[in-house]
């Protein structure tokens, strides 16, 4: 077999539609910016920016939690250093605006790549489905790292599906970059090896393409170790990918955290359509693997819903259009109208659902105002945050006197600490004993959380020191028992 035969099916060109769908992508980009600007959830970005600044300042990557936490200093951690540096650099220019812009750009580009992955026409339909589904989840994902994950996933799939042998090897390079951006880079070897298996199933025998994909997959496995964490990343893959069932007690990991509309828009419709028509095609076994695998990830952790949509929408939409005997090229005639309808629908979904998504994400804004009184007294504090994202703000402040119980790097913390975090946040028996045992002297909690109500019932021990929006700061007035 020649190299030419290794090439997967080329994209079917529809110049008119391509041009118009580019306009749609631009409109979607604008909608993404709007969503992110009006419903920002910047807690994760703040911590990532702090990490990025530290890396830029020290020219070193910390692989252990530092003194910013008092429960687990020295615990192994891994956050993509490259992603953190990107966030830091983006924030260095114009602060939050640039972070939002970069995140939106990555997100829109990821959706745009969906257009190039569709086959058989209907690019705008694919974009519409992908954009409508991903925008609903945007309120919970403002970090450029998260939307960069979407982009790298789209790019990897495009290379595997259409890049031939060269594309497979480019994926290896992509895996190295991606693993340094975030733990989701661990998906690359899986995708390459799945593609190899699918190609083997299609051909019924070994072929140069199968061997190429296996070699690229093996190299990608090695690439997983080419990060500052070396084997630490692949060995704790399930944890870093947030699909480790042992973390199920942690609120941020609960599968149903994603707001219902994002789940419904993103998963249920696509899965029902896939089940109705079936995605199996003898010459495209990879499609079936991607759809089923993507759905499994989405069900294991709803944070993977956007990824599932990006993976599956070009496959499922194309098959649905074919089953309905709908010629994708029929979109040509009304592409502009469809384009504007799509952009309008995306904006509508954004306006309707983004605030709810942001609320579901847990932290609508950073409790920065709470930091000031604690920082001003010049004393060391041990702070407990009922929502771990809130503690990111304290970590990001870089003040050595503000040490936190647990922050958003949840995968790094020992199970005993996570158990205590959950016990206190959910006001289980012994919650006070846990606070005393860890010598916590400040609690940050939203007024709507259970802990706020019970702490307020202990005014002699916990004094309400300050308030920032819905965030409350209680300070201990009596030393722990």
């Amino acid at each position: 077999m020649t190299v030419g035969e290794l090439q997967a099916t080329p994209a079917i060109a529809h110049p008119g539609e391509s041009l118009r769908s580019s306009a749609v992508v631009a409109a979607i980009l604008a909608s993404f910016v709007g969503v992110l600007a009006f419903a920002p959830n910047l807690a994760n970005s703040a911590r990532a920016a702090w990490l990025g600044h530290r890396i830029l300042a020290t020219h070193a990557v910390d692989l252990r939690l530092g003194a910013e936490t008092f429960t687990a200093p020295g615990a192994h951690t891994y956050e993509g250093w490259l992603g953190a540096v990107i966030v830091a650099l983006a924030g260095a220019f114009t602060g939050g605006v640039a972070v939002v812009g970069v995140a939106a750009f990555f997100g829109a580009l990821a959706v745009a790549l969906v257009r190039t992955r569709e086959r058989g026409g209907g690019a705008i339909a694919c974009i519409a489905v992908a954009a409508l589904s991903t925008v609903a989840a945007l309120g919970t994902v403002t970090s450029p790292t998260a939307t960069l994950d979407w982009l790298l996933l789209s790019a990897t799939l495009l290379l595997v599906e259409r890049g031939g042998a060269r594309g497979a090897y480019v994926c290896v390079a992509l895996a190295i970059v991606w693993c340094n951006v975030s733990a989701q880079g661990l998906l690359v070897p899986g995708i390459l090896l799945a593609a190899a298996g699918a190609a083997r199933a299609c051909a019924g025998a070994d072929s140069p393409r199968v061997r190429t994909l296996i070699r690229a997959g093996a190299l990608a496995v090695v690439a997983m170790a080419l990060t500052p964490a070396f084997l630490g990343l692949p060995l704790r893959g399930a944890t870093y990918l947030r699909i480790d069932p042992t973390f199920s007690g942690l609120h941020a990991w609960q599968p149903a955290l994603m707001p219902a509309h994002a789940y419904t828009l993103g998963v249920v419709g696509l899965v029902a359509i896939a089940a109705l028509f079936g995605v199996w095609r003898r010459d495209r076994a990879l499609d079936a693997v991607l759809v089923v695998g993507g759905a499994l990830f989405a069900f294991l952790n709803a944070q993977f819903v956007p990824e599932f949509v990006l993976v599956a929408s070009p496959i499922i939409v194309t098959i649905a259009l074919a089953a309905l005997r709908f010629d994708g090229r029929a979109f040509h005639r009304s592409a502009t109208a469809l384009g504007f309808c799509t952009a309008g629908a995306v904006a509508l979904v954004a306006a309707a659902f983004a605030p709810a998504s942001s609320e579901a994400g847990g932290a609508t804004h950073l409790p920065l105002g709470l930091v000031a009184p604690l920082a001003a007294d010049g004393r060391a504090h041990r702070i407990y945050c009922a929502s771990i994202d809130a503690c990111d703000a304290f970590v990001a402040s870089g003040d050595p006197n503000l040490r936190v119980f647990m922050d958003g790097r949840d995968a790094a913390y020992p199970h005993s600490v996570i158990e205590d975090q959950t016990t206190i946040a959910k006001v289980r028996p012994a919650w006070r004993a846990r606070l005393d045992a860890w010598k916590v002297d400040a609690i940050v909690v939203r007024s709507s959380q259970q802990l706020a109500e019970v702490v307020a019932l202990l005014p002699r021990i916990w004094h309400l020191r300050s308030r920032d929006g819905t965030a409350l700061l209680f300070v201990r007035t009596v030393p722990p028992r």
Partner: protein, 485 residues
């Protein structure tokens, strides 16, 4: 079909043991038995909540479970509760057998039918109990068997829908499913054929059949209202399905994954496809639908999977084959019995997970009680099995649906310690709270100056508002009725 009985046989002992030996998982059976007694005594269905619910006395009530409740009460009153439990256990067993029957009729190989029925069995396990929904599983399986037909047998769906409507409001699915099938027939026939006419007429007849019960048109009205009711957000069974549900991950998801690959129907076979697509959407609306999806999807998925697997040419049966036809199911039954015996030995004591003693302690306390239960289903334990008047009035109980949304909002605000939870407790005049020891509300009440603990056992606590139940003020009651010093 020859191995179709294997899965029901393996699981049958489990279902029987779980139904008869194991205690009920929640308090629903208590109010259902109470309802049944009321029906048997008055020969009429109550249509509104009484004074037993102090937050919603007089609120309209559609007691959709009336038939189940009446049979439960009748059997319990005649010392045959075990027979009722066994009958409920039979429902999933027969439903799984019908899965195998349908799979064979759709052309599934014995192997794929066995595998898919096993997935369906797993999908049933988590939801199983002596519950009205479980009885509905059998009717759903029967309904789908009839819906597979295109001829006169299709009309069998109508009496099944009528019976179903007397059992559970999920009967609302009946006309929806026939309508989906009719749309499928439209897409398949693309003309007004006798087949299409029959499906349309049957859909209409099924819609009318929903009214063939003592509740009449109130039942479909209630079911439609429930579909958009906000109270679903606060009931665990209505939560969105996800991988945290083992029955989904190991039962429904494999079936769904196979369907995503192979499809629900052959190309241009829209009828089956649309019916099952409806079940797929249903699967994600609430975790309680996982089992229903398993029953509906397994036969079709098995048939579709069979098309992709190599099929052996039929050959004459040997003596060994004939022996295997009996030996294999017998072995399966033996394995099931062995597992069930083990399970029965490990069964917890009756009512171990329910606050029976705590409720008895509340009833023994002097004064008039307005009781809030941390799990609203526990409050049903207050309802006397003979249909009498409960000793304490309850805030919210397992009947759930008829309580106004405002009551639900207050309940959730109090249970989850949302801001102003104490004001809501005061405004509703609650003076007794029953909670689990690890509930946040228990922690908060322990710190609240106007509440005191009046009872405790290993699992439950009772708090009394200070000033109520004066004679019990001085001491706390401990579990098993012992008085603490």
């Amino acid at each position: 079909m020859k191995y179709g009985v294997v899965v029901p046989l393996v699981l049958a002992p489990f279902f029987v043991v779980k139904a008869i030996v194991y205690p009920p998982g929640d308090g629903d059976l208590f109010w259902q038995r109470w309802l049944g007694s009321v029906v048997l005594q008055s020969h009429a269905l109550p249509r509104s909540l009484g004074n037993e619910a102090f937050t919603a006395a007089g609120a309209p009530w559609v007691p959709q479970e009336w038939l189940f409740s009446t049979l439960l009460s009748f059997s319990a009153a005649h010392g045959a509760a075990w027979a009722f439990d066994a009958a409920i256990a039979l429902c999933p067993i027969v439903a799984l057998w019908l899965v195998a029957v349908r799979a064979a009729r759709h052309g599934a190989t014995p192997l794929t039918a066995l595998v898919c029925a096993a997935f369906a069995g797993v999908a049933l396990l988590e939801s199983f109990g002596v519950r009205v929904q479980v009885a509905a599983w059998l009717l759903i399986a029967l309904f789908l068997l009839a819906l597979d037909e295109d001829g006169a047998w299709l009309w069998a769906t109508v009496p099944i829908a009528a019976l179903w409507s007397n059992l559970h409001a999920s009967a609302m699915l009946a006309p929806v499913l026939v309508a989906a099938a009719a749309v499928g027939v439209v897409l398949e026939d693309r003309a007004w054929t006798p087949r299409l006419r029959r499906h349309v007429l049957v859909a209409g007849a099924c819609a009318l059949a929903l009214c063939l019960n003592p509740l009449g048109p109130e039942l479909p009205r209630y079911a439609i209202g429930l579909f958009s009711s906000p109270i679903k957000h606060w009931i665990a069974e209505w939560k969105t399905t996800d991988a945290a549900d083992i029955s989904f991950l190991l039962g429904a998801f494999p079936l769904l994954a196979i369907a995503m690959v192979a499809g629900f129907g052959a190309p241009r076979q829209w009828k089956q496809g649309l019916v099952l697509a409806a079940f797929a959407v249903l699967l994600f609306t609430a975790a309680r639908n996982i089992a229903v999806f398993g029953i509906a999807a397994a036969p079709i998925v098995a048939a579709r999977l069979s098309r992709y697997l190599p099929r052996r040419e039929p050959r004459p049966l040997t003596a060994l084959d004939r022996g295997a036809q009996f030996a294999f199911p017998a072995f399966a039954l033996a394995v099931g019995v062995a597992c069930a015996v083990t399970l029965a030995r490990e069964a917890p004591p009756p009512l171990a997970d329910l606050p029976v003693q705590a409720i008895a302690a509340i009833d023994a306390m002097p004064g008039t009680h307005r009781l809030l239960c941390g799990d609203f289903a526990w409050c049903a334990l207050e309802f006397p099995p003979d249909g009498g008047i409960p000793r304490a009035q309850v805030f919210l109980d397992g009947r759930a649906d008829p309580f106004p949304v405002s009551v639900w909002r207050d309940f959730v605000a109090i249970s989850l310690l949302q801001p102003d939870w104490r004001q809501r407790l005061d405004a509703r005049g609650v003076n007794v709270v029953l909670v689990k020891v690890d509930a946040p509300l228990a922690q908060a009440l322990a710190l609240a100056p106007d509440w005191r603990r009046a009872y405790r056992d290993a699992k439950f606590l009772v708090y009394l508002r200070r000033g109520d139940g004066r004679r019990a003020d001085a001491r706390e009651v401990r579990g098993a009725g012992r008085i603490a010093g």
